[in-house]
C-alpha cells in the first residue's frame, strides 16, 4: 500500500522540488528522489513477492465510483525494471545533463521531465482504470515529446512534433474507445469490464483503443516516428524513451486483451496483431541494417524487439496443455519486455558515452572506441547478446519460452520469426560491434569518468543476469497473472 502510493508520489514531489529549488540544489534533490523511488519500487516488489498482488482503492472508494490501483507481478516487475533504468539514466545524466555540457535550459528541463515520466509510468503500471490509464499515457507522451525536443535542435523539434502528432492521434483513438466502452457499460475498471455483459459496441471500443495503443507502442507500420525521435533525443532521454515508454502502452494493450475483454479475441485478430509484430521484427531489422548511425541502429532494433512481444497474442497459453508448466509464452513475452528494457537502456547510454567522447555516433567515428573505453564496449556487446537472444540472457529465456509455446500449440510458423529475428539482429548488430572493436581508433576520444562508463555495463549485466537467474523472476511474474495468460485467448 504505502510502497505503491509512494512509488507514485515520490517522483512527483521530486519533480516539483527540482523545478522549484535553485539550480544548485536541483541535482541533489533529483538524485535523492531517484534513490527514494528506486527504494519504493523494490519495496513494492518485495511486498508483492511476499504477500501476492496488492490492490488499493483510492480514498476507500470502490470502483466504479472510485479508482483502483493494483500491483501484480507484472506491474511490480516493470516497476523495478523502470526504477533500475531510471537510476542508471540519472547516474549517466549527472554527467551528460550538467549545464556546462547540455546548456542550462536543457539541464533545467531534464530532471523534472524525467521524474514526471517516471511517475506516469508507475501510474500506468498499477492503474486498473481505463481513463486513469489514459491520463497516465498522455502524461507519458507529453513528457516524452518534451524530452525529445529538449535539446532544441531543429531536427529534434521536427522529430518531437511528428512524435506528438502520432501520439495524439493515438490517444484520441484510445480516448474514443474509452468513451464508447463507458457509454456501453458505465464503468472503466478493468476487473468490472471483465465481468460485464458484452454488447456489439465493444468491438469498436476495443478496435479504437487497440489502434491507438499500437501507435504509441510504435508497432509496424506506425513505428516511423520512433527512430527519428529516439535518435534526436539526448542519450539518457532516448534510453528512457526506448526502454520504458513503449512498454507502458504495450502493458495497457495486454491488460485490455488479456484482462478486460479476453472473450472478444478472435483468431484472425490475434493473427493480425502477431503478424504485425512479425513484420515489425523483419522491417526493423532490415532498416537497422541500413543505418549508419549507432543510435538509429539501436532505435530500429527497438522496433524489431517490440515486435517479438506481439507474438504473445496467439501463443499465450499455447503450451498449457502439452507442458507441465503453464503460461510459458506469456511469461516469455514479459521476459522480453524486461530484458529488452534493460539492454536497450544500456545500449543508448553506451551510445551517449560515445557521443560525449567523440561528439558523434556515426559508425565511422566510433571505430575502435572499445580500446579507449573498454567497459562501454563490453556493455554494448553484452546488451547485444540479450537482443540477439543468445543464452544465457533474458532475451534467450524469452525466445525459448515463446518458441516452446509456438511448437507446443502447433503454431510453429511463429518460431521462424523468433529465429529469423535473432539472425537479423546478429546481422545489424555485427557492424556496430566490429566498428567499436576495430583495431585502429578513428577519433581520439575525450576521457570519460569510469563511474559513468560503469552505468551501462551494470544494466547490460543485469539483462544477462535476468536470464541467468530466471527462475525467481519467472515465479514472480506469475503473481496475479490473468488466467487467459495460461489458458490462451
Amino acid at each position: 500500500m504505502t510502497a505503491l502510493i509512494s512509488g507514485l508520489v515520490l517522483p512527483l514531489l521530486a519533480a516539483l522540488a527540482a523545478i522549484a529549488l535553485p539550480a544548485r540544489a536541483r541535482l541533489p534533490v533529483a538524485l535523492l528522489g531517484v534513490g527514494l523511488t528506486l527504494a519504493a519500487s523494490i519495496w513494492l516488489a518485495i511486498s508483492v513477492w511476499t504477500n501476492g498482488a496488492i490492490t488499493v482503492s483510492l480514498g476507500g472508494w470502490q470502483p466504479p465510483i472510485g479508482i483502483a490501483l493494483r500491483a501484480d507481478g507484472l506491474g511490480a516487475a516493470l516497476g523495478v525494471m523502470t526504477a533500475l533504468v531510471m537510476a542508471a539514466v540519472a547516474l549517466a545524466a549527472r554527467h551528460e545533463m550538467e549545464p556546462l555540457v547540455a546548456g542550462p535550459r536543457t539541464s533545467f528541463g531534464f530532471w523534472p521531465l524525467m521524474l514526471l515520466l517516471w511517475a506516469a509510468l508507475n501510474a500506468v503500471f498499477v492503474s486498473r482504470d481505463l481513463f486513469n490509464l489514459y491520463v497516465g499515457l498522455e502524461l507519458i507522451t507529453l513528457t516524452a515529446v518534451a524530452l525529445v525536443a529538449i535539446s532544441g535542435k531543429a531536427e529534434a523539434i521536427a522529430a518531437a512534433l511528428r512524435y506528438l502528432l502520432f501520439a495524439l492521434a493515438g490517444s484520441l483513438l484510445y480516448l474514443a474507445g474509452v468513451v464508447l466502452s463507458y457509454a456501453a457499460h458505465g464503468t472503466l475498471d478493468i476487473s468490472l469490464l471483465a465481468a460485464r455483459t458484452a454488447v456489439p459496441g465493444d468491438a469498436l471500443a476495443l478496435g479504437l483503443m487497440t489502434a491507438g495503443l499500437l501507435v504509441k507502442t510504435a508497432l509496424f507500420p506506425f513505428h516511423v516516428w520512433l527512430p527519428p525521435a529516439h535518435s534526436a533525443a539526448p542519450a539518457p532521454a532516448s534510453a528512457m524513451l526506448s526502454a520504458l515508454v513503449p512498454k507502458a502502452s504495450l502493458l495497457i494493450l495486454l491488460r485490455l486483451w488479456f484482462e478486460a475483454m479476453p472473450e472478444l479475441a478472435t483468431p484472425v485478430a490475434l493473427f493480425t496483431l502477431a503478424g504485425l509484430g512479425a513484420l515489425a521484427v523483419i522491417w526493423g531489422g532490415v532498416l537497422a541494417l541500413l543505418q549508419a548511425r549507432l543510435k538509429l541502429i539501436v532505435a530500429y532494433s527497438t522496433v524489431a524487439q517490440l515486435g517479438y512481444i506481439f507474438l504473445v497474442f496467439p501463443l499465450a497459453g499455447g503450451d498449457g496443455a502439452a507442458q507441465p508448466w503453464a503460461a510459458g509464452a506469456w511469461t516469455g513475452a514479459m521476459f522480453q519486455m524486461l530484458g529488452h528494457g534493460l539492454a536497450k537502456a544500456a545500449m543508448f547510454l553506451a551510445a551517449g558515452i560515445y557521443i560525449a567522447a567523440v561528439g558523434s555516433d556515426r559508425l565511422s567515428d566510433v571505430r575502435g572506441l572499445a580500446r579507449a573505453l573498454p567497459m562501454t564496449g563490453f556493455a554494448f556487446a553484452l546488451a547485444s547478446i540479450t537482443l540477439l537472444g543468445l543464452p544465457p540472457s533474458a532475451g534467450f529465456t524469452a525466445k525459448y519460452l515463446l518458441m516452446t509455446g509456438a511448437f507446443a500449440s502447433g503454431q510453429w510458423a511463429w518460431a521462424f520469426v523468433l529465429v529469423g529475428g535473432g539472425l537479423l539482429a546478429a546481422a545489424y548488430l555485427y557492424r556496430p560491434l566490429t566498428a567499436i572493436f576495430a583495431r585502429e581508433i578513428a577519433v581520439t576520444p575525450r576521457p570519460i569518468p569510469w563511474g559513468w562508463q560503469a552505468v551501462p555495463l551494470v544494466l547490460a549485466m543485469l539483462s544477462v543476469a535476468l536470464g541467468l537467474l530466471s527462475s525467481v523472476p519467472f515465479d514472480f511474474l506469475q503473481i496475479g497473472r490473468p488466467d487467459q495468460a495460461a489458458e490462451g485467448l
Binding site: 515529446v145 525536443a149 523539434i157 495524439l168 492521434a169
Partner: protein, 100 residues
C-alpha cells in the same frame, strides 16, 4: 432528444477533426483538428453520461480531466510548432513542407 443532438454534434465534430487531421499539412491546423476531435469526444461522453434517470457524475469529472490533458497537449504542441517555425522557417513537417 437533446442527447441525440449532443451525440450527433459530437460525432460530426470528430468527423471534421479526423478530416482536418489527415488532410491538412500546416501543423496549427492539425492541432486545431485534434482539439476538434477532443471536444467532439467529450461532448459525446457527456451525452453518454447524461442518459438514464440519475445523472452520472463520473463523465463530468473525466471530461474536465480530459480537457486539462488536451489543453496541456495543445500547449506543448503549439510551443513546438513555434520552435519549429523559428528554426526551420516553416510550420510544416520537413517531409511535407512542399505540399500544401
Amino acid at each position: 432528444m437533446s442527447l441525440t443532438v449532443f451525440a450527433m454534434t459530437g460525432a460530426t465534430l470528430v468527423g471534421l477533426g479526423v478530416y482536418g487531421l489527415l488532410a491538412r499539412v500546416h501543423m496549427l491546423r492539425r492541432i486545431m483538428a485534434f482539439n476538434l476531435i477532443g471536444s467532439g469526444l467529450f461532448l459525446f461522453f457527456g451525452a453518454a453520461g447524461a442518459r438514464g434517470a440519475a445523472l452520472d457524475p463520473i463523465p463530468q469529472a473525466l471530461i474536465i480531466t480530459g480537457i486539462v490533458v488536451a489543453l496541456a497537449a495543445s500547449a506543448l504542441a503549439v510551443g513546438l510548432v513555434v520552435a519549429l517555425a523559428r528554426s526551420s522557417g516553416t510550420a510544416c513537417l520537413p517531409d511535407e513542407a512542399g505540399d500544401t
